[in-house]
Each structure stands twice: as C-alpha cells, then as structure tokens.
C-alpha cells in the first residue's frame, strides 16, 4: 500500500487553504495517498462557492491585504484554489467532512459541494486515516 498524508483542514483562511492543498497535491504527485479532513472554519470552505472566500490569516486589513496577495498571486501565475481542488480530486485525493462541525454550524449536506466529498465522519474516521499515515498535519 502507498504511503499516506492526512491533513486536518481546520483553518478556512485563504493562505492556509493554499498550504493544505499544495501539500496535498504534492503528496499525490509524489505517489502518496491523501485524505483531507475538513473541520471548523475549514469546513465552511466546502460550502457552495466558498472555496476562495477565506480571509488572510495575517495582515488581512479588512480585505485589503487579501486583495494585494491575490493580485500578486495572479501576477506570479499561482493556481487558483479551484484548480488545486480539481487536480486533487483528479489524482484520487479523498475528502472527509466533519459531521460535528456541520451540526454546530448548522451546515446541511445540500449546502456543501457534495460532489467533492467522499465521506462524512467524526474523530474515529480521522484516527483511522491518521494511524496509517506517515505525514499528518493540522493546518
């Protein structure tokens, strides 16, 4: 069986979504399996149209810093989160949505991009993924 990377995507911040998806896609590209466990603010990014909506984790300045980073990313030809997500799925990456977060935040399955989600689960699901992973991260 291939080695595996499991990442808890806890933050919904734009820059941290990039970190999570870049590490995830890098792992897939280098022959590993990947599971992303979306919880708390990260889960909100799986809402329809929510992927690119996060603020910056630092120097957001009411969205001004975010705009600046976005324009610099565009200039440097950095891929969009939409594209990274579509590559992630194409290369066989797995997405797990946290059911507890859905309950607390009142998020229904129909609010989410269900076509991206492979499984709905809780901590036990994460542990089963993580215990067989060589790389585990909380982002």
């Amino acid at each position: 069986m291939a080695e595996k990377t499991t990442i808890i995507v806890h933050s919904g911040d734009l820059d941290k979504m990039y970190s999570a998806l870049i590490v995830a896609n890098g792992s897939l590209a280098m022959g590993m399996e990947v599971s992303l466990y979306f919880t708390f603010w990260g889960l909100l990014r799986l809402k329809k149209g929510g992927l690119e909506k996060g603020p910056l984790s630092k120097m957001n300045f009411l969205g001004l810093g975010r705009m600046m980073i976005k324009s610099r990313m565009k200039k440097n030809n950095v891929a969009s989160l939409e594209r990274l997500m579509s590559d992630f799925k194409e290369l066989g990456g797995k997405i797990i949505a946290c059911e507890m977060t859905m309950e607390i935040m009142g998020v229904k399955k129909s609010d989410l991009m269900e076509e991206l989600i492979d499984e709905y689960g809780a901590v036990g699901t994460y542990i089963q993924e993580a215990r067989e992973s060589t790389i585990t991260l909380l982002i």
Partner: protein, 73 residues
C-alpha cells in the same frame, strides 16, 4: 509507445509536479513523458517525484529559457 508532451512553462509550485503526475497516470508503460518548464524548484523536484514513483528519468536538459525533463513510464 507514445511521446507525451507537458508544457508547464510559466507555471509555479505545485502545478509542474501535478501536471507531471497527471501525465504519468494517463500514460501507458513504455511511453515517454517530456515535461518543459521554467520553475527552478520543479527542475529538482520532478526527478525526485519520478524516483518516488519508481520511474526512470531519461534526461534533464536546460537552455537559457527553459528546462526539459524526459521520464519513461
């Protein structure tokens, strides 16, 4: 035995690696995948990924404008 071309000139991390992986997935054993790019880190990392995927790197060339890596599927 086909030769597959992947042009990632101007693309930055992680796109060159990802596009290489997508091409490898689609290729048949014996196909040659030629990747052309400009990202400096990817020139080092595509051979690393090829090794991790247990694929043979046939050649790594570079001119003033871009690098070319050939991998055997």
């Amino acid at each position: 035995m086909a030769e597959i071309h992947v042009d990632v000139r101007g693309e930055t991390c992680p796109v060159p690696l990802v596009e290489m992986r997508k091409a490898v997935k689609k290729a048949a054993p014996g196909d040659v995948i030629e990747i052309v790019g400009t990202n400096a880190a990817s020139k080092k990392e595509i051979p690393m990924a090829a090794e991790a995927l247990e694929l043979k790197v046939l050649s790594i060339d570079e001119n003033a404008e871009f690098w070319t890596i050939k991998i055997l599927r």
